[in-house]
Amino acid sequence: MITLYLSRDAASLALGADRVAAALLRDAATHGLDIQLIRTGTRGAVWLEPLLEVATPRGRVGYGQLRLADVPSILDAITGDGAHALNIGPVEAHPWFANQTRLTFARCGVIDPVSVADYEAHGGLAGLRRALELGSAAIVEEVKTSGLRGRGGAGFPTGIKWNTVRGAAADQKYIVCNADEGDSGTFADRMLMEGDPLCLIEGMAIAGIAVGATKGYVYIRSEYPHAVATMRAAIVAARRAGLLGHDILGSGIAYDMDVRVGAGAYICGEETSLLDSLEGKRGMVRAKPPLPALAGLFGKPTVVNNVLSLASVPWILAHGGKAYADYGQGRSLGTLPVQLAGNVKRGGLIEVPFGLSLRRLIEDWGHGTATGRKFRAVQVGGPLGGYFPDRLLDTALDYEAMAAAGGLLGHGGVVVFDDNVDLLAQARFAFEFCATESCGKCTPCRVGAVRGMEVIDKIAAGRDTDRNFSLLDDLCETMTDGSLCAMGGLTPVPVQTALRNFPEDFDRAGRKLAAD
């Protein structure tokens, strides 16, 4: 029997994986071939999907960018000597994968996402077992030692947050996983939930043991129906295997969790808005303090962590905080799952130690723009992140370096633009997005975003430009200083980096002169 693997994550489906799967099964049946097709998550090479992998004595051999029409010849190849134009050789030896450091995403794309047996056979549950041996205080120490910082954007040290919740006395505490992943250009949370959901469950259970929380929620955005379905199936499988429930792995410790689905509001990714949403209210941002760690969900002490923060924990517990901290640089320790997207030839998820330069990412992994046109700009860190030109591409992907360059790392999204991009339009979009998604609680954000669009429109029309540029500056300053949360507070980042790094796009009057 031949064992085949094909991803069923949403990006692979978007590129036709289900059609390829159906054709494979049909053609194999007509030719009497004995095949077993296992649907995995994706390894993250979205540019190679649909990527069919075949189990061979040399490891899994891949056939990438499959189209429906390729299926018959692929079946010939895998039953013959493997020769085929789409054969990329042993998948893990391909430089796109071999040059990564897969810790959090080690199993993603490799295993059957909802099989506990497969999960355990690939190193799963080692972290949870170690956590149960260590006990609460030592787990928190291990996470502190790892240097793990929140991957949701703010970069707050996870161990310190856990310690606060651990120290709070309450009859009920919660673990809330932020899977709202609203940042454009990011998909790592989705990929993990579709490809290795048990890893997130394990991480949340460890968090529960560490802080004394018996209940958890994964708040997933509604734009991710496949992640919701896989996550739910994995929770059922985990309960059946005794990883969740009254007595996890026979330890006598209780922890269980459920999935909650968002309803299309970007602001619900902000942790206090998310908590209000989970409580069944409008997702309004709460003033801090009190910290969610002390008064979070239903007023109870609550750990709110991003999917990637929680999914890094099983590795950290299994291998030790020190081993994790050996990766990365400065105060950015461990690995960063970068999401390379937009106008790039080879986009996808690339997990590397912190510190890779944007240039190496875009050139070595991305292989340049998808359109083949000249590179012009990159936006790092989602809709609230900065726009950078070629001369800033040597900036390293770590928290401090990105901040020093006037931007932010955010959730690790990197969106590439070719020379068709108009940075004035991008700046306008940043305001438009803020105006649409603002929770409306504070004036600088609610009113400022709308004003921002108007000012940019005037600049675009070449009207009263000096006055409008200074208005824009004032407006950005007011939003930065006067907003209650980072939605209004960081919207000036894309606007001001666009203006600073691409001033020529804002000089509409000059451009018009040049054209005349």
Partner: protein, 168 residues
Amino acid sequence: MQTAPATNEATPPGWDKARAHAIIDGMKATEGAALPMLHALQEAFGYVPHPAEAMMAEALNLSRAEIRGIISFYHDFRQAPAGRHVMKLCVAEACQSMGGPGVAERLLTRLGIGWGETTTDGSLTVEKVYCLGLCACAPAALLDDVPVGRLDDDTATLLAAEAAGGMT
């Protein structure tokens, strides 16, 4: 002469009080029940019918205004039925870098509708979305629950035609 069956102006399309009651009653004990309830109602009816608001308000011990406030806060919840199919088109940055908004605008023009509107045959509602997590195969769309990557004019037209042709 045949007369159309009597319709009560106040009865929203597809309304089934017993069904709504079963949904609301079955979920009212859930922690933070409002969103799961609204999702379940929308799943059942295709939108959140008006009379369900009062029923929810009573079950959750909230005012009807509060329920309306929740519904209006979230982009997902509809107060009127959508078309038989819903296409979400991404217009966020990664899709912008690959011409997504242009594909979207041209499709809307061909269909003769605006964002959030439904084609006259009732087959398709087109909605704007900011990111589907398919940013490495942009531009992206979601037709009902089917993801579509590297969307271009031809594919967009084809999908709309399939929706109109009674695709299930």
